[in-house]
């Protein structure tokens, strides 16, 4: 079973996302901060990280850049309410596979995740 880690400092978002993806056949892991996310990533076996951008302490792009350094094989996706805040250049440098807008559309989100998790 694929392990999917969702990172967001808003608990409402975390549980809503988990609810949306409950029946997709993935093991859903949740982290409410970048620090927590890195701890889970370090334990290994995380196939995909879906992270919010604006979080206290460490932003989503910073987190994904760090994930890329530690576990380059991990698929990295960013979900944000302000896509303009992150430049295409930045996405490319960090190797972020997709940028998902917030609020998201369930069907679209699932389609993107399936595309990246095979």
């Amino acid at each position: 079973m694929m392990n999917l880690l969702i990172v967001d400092d808003d608990a409402g978002i975390l549980s809503a996302l988990k609810r949306s993806l409950r029946r997709e056949g993935w093991n859903i892991l949740l982290a409410d901060s970048a620090r927590e996310a890195l701890r889970i990533v370090d334990k290994g076996a995380v196939d995909l990280v879906l992270s919010d951008h604006k979080m206290p302490g460490m932003t989503g792009t910073e987190l994904l850049a760090e994930v890329a350094r530690r576990r380059p094989e991990t698929v990295r996706l960013l979900i944000t309410g302000w896509a303009e805040a992150v430049s295409k250049q930045e996405l490319k440098e960090i190797g972020i596979e997709a940028l998902i807008p917030k609020p998201w559309d369930d069907a679209e989100l699932k389609a993107v995740l399936h595309q990246h998790l095979g």
Binding site: D10, G12, I13, S15, A16, L17, R19, S20, H53, K54, T80, G81, W82, E84, A85, K102, P103, W104, D106
Partner: protein, 707 residues
Amino acid sequence: MVGAHPVETGPALVRITVLQVPGADEPVFSSVAQGVRHEDSGHTNLTRADTALALGQIGAQVEILPACDVQQCVELAGRFEMDLVILDRCDPATVTAFFECGVPPGAPVVVVIPAEASESAALDAFRHGAADCVRVGHDYSEVLALVAMEQIRRWRQIRDRDAAQTKIHWLESLNEAIVSEIPVALAVLDDARSVVEVNPEFQRAFGLSSEHVRGVHVQSALPKDLIESGNLLQLLPPPGLALPEGSRLARMVDAQGRGSVFDVRSQRLDGEGHILLALSNVTQTESLSRRLGELERFNEFVVRSINSALMVVDREAKITFANPPAGRILGCPEGGLRGQRVEEYFSSAGELPSPLARALEDGTDSKGGEMMLSLADGTVIPIGISCSPLREESWDVQGAVVIFQDLSEIKELQRQVLQQEKMASIGQLAAGIAHEINNPVGFIHANLAQMREYLDDLSEYLDAVGDLQRAIPPGAAPEIQQAASALEETAGRIEVDYLRKDFASALRESLEGSERIRHIVSDLRDFSHQGGLATTLADVNQCVDSTANIVWTMMKHSVELKKDYQVLPELRCHPMQLKQVFMNLLVNAYQAIEESIEEGSDEGGVIEISTRHRGGGIEVAIRDTGAGIAEENLPRIFDPFFTTKEVGAGTGLGLSTSYGIVKKHGGEMTATSEPGGGARFEIFLPLEREPLREASPIDGSDEPITE
């Protein structure tokens, strides 16, 4: 100075004094030869006939002044200028007496010796000083005539020579006086341009003594800077060439650093190549006239170059001077203002502007004031004004100088900057709120979608429960019968069928609601998204639509919004500024509709927004069914500060600001209206045009708004 006057050359008339002492033995003749005139000397005796005959042969007009004694003769000789004195046959004692009388040196004396006189008489006469002697004989008249002519000729020669010498002497003295006293440095140069002589002024002016400078080439004699600055060598062409006419100005700086200016002329003196060089020191004249010229130019430049309007007003408040900017602002060519009463062109609600009135009244100086100026055509513009009294030597106020600037543009820019800043902060606030709403809306929406799935699952389950309940046979176990009736009772109590149906409705409506919140948030984000200082490619439809959606929230109760968008090419523009224009127009349209509703129209209004791609540009039209614009106001609605709203209700800057923004995009904005029939504003924005002015002081930061 010379006191002597030049001696007149001898008159054409020959004047001769003849002394003859009448004797008893000789008759006195009264006959006079032709050409001889006798001057009546008060004596009865006249000249002897033979003498008169001789004198008549001289060939000129002869005037004889006869004398009958020594004293009279001497007197006559002293009184008149005589050409000749003849002592006619006087006795030796008279001759001696005459010469001993100390006759002043002058006319030659010819002594006529009687025929009978001794040989020594002639010798005696010569010894006394006679010029010649003639003895009376048979050829007496011819001899006397010859002797007289010769003596007169010689005497005249001497006299002319003396006169010429005196004149030369006088001229020399005059010349010397002029040369030495004249305040002009003079130098005489020879044909090799070496200095022959200089005057004292030359020595003074250039600090050279004539001994030092004599023989020196003029180039070495005069200061180098003087020669070069005046191009003085051109005044001294090689011999044979004509001297240039006129004078040159030449400058020099002496050892003490004092500058002098000379007016230099040259004059040919003679055929030997001598040239007179005259250098007049005109430093003071030159510096005064230069200073005057400088002052005039300075004034002219100041008045011409200041961008501000400048007007001079006399004590009677009549305009005596106005520069071109003054004419431009006051709508009158500059010449036309002169002599006009100032308040006809320059007034504050019909009265003399108070800074000017105070300056004229008591000489109050005022600087940097601002006021509204009423122009002759009724337009009112904001101006900056400074007034200073113009004072006479006596310090009485004789008028005032008014300097003013048209502040319309500055005020409008200030207004625009303020408006932009306001819009930018509203934008930032909206962006912040949008972001905060975004997250909860995100999960509410996701949860509602999830709950709909759950409801579908639960419905399936409830259907199965219903099927189970209906499958219970009448003879089932009492526990089962009991449970089934409890289920039925609960279903009835909670109205499970209604609940199922309404749960779905509630979810659908909530989803619709959250969808609407998502759109509002999205519009807010679009609206507040800043283009920054640089232009960006933007979809005008999207600009119009997001603005319309924001504005519509406040007008939806009274206004129906009709949108008619055509697919448009992207436009390079400042999207935020265009949104501001659309917002101004939409709010105006809304207010016009509100106004007509207040006036009793019971129908709600309609605002139609349409966009078209035509004629190489984009056309945006906003039409309303409001009160419309009065015909007389139509030409002025884009003027800054023009407003029909109540005091305080509007600044009157919205439309002029919008107009300015459209103009800055190279576009046009027009308004048409029928009173009561609503207004239509059309904006045309060209797709291809000159680059936008990028360095506008508008907009906030260029940074993207971060999450």
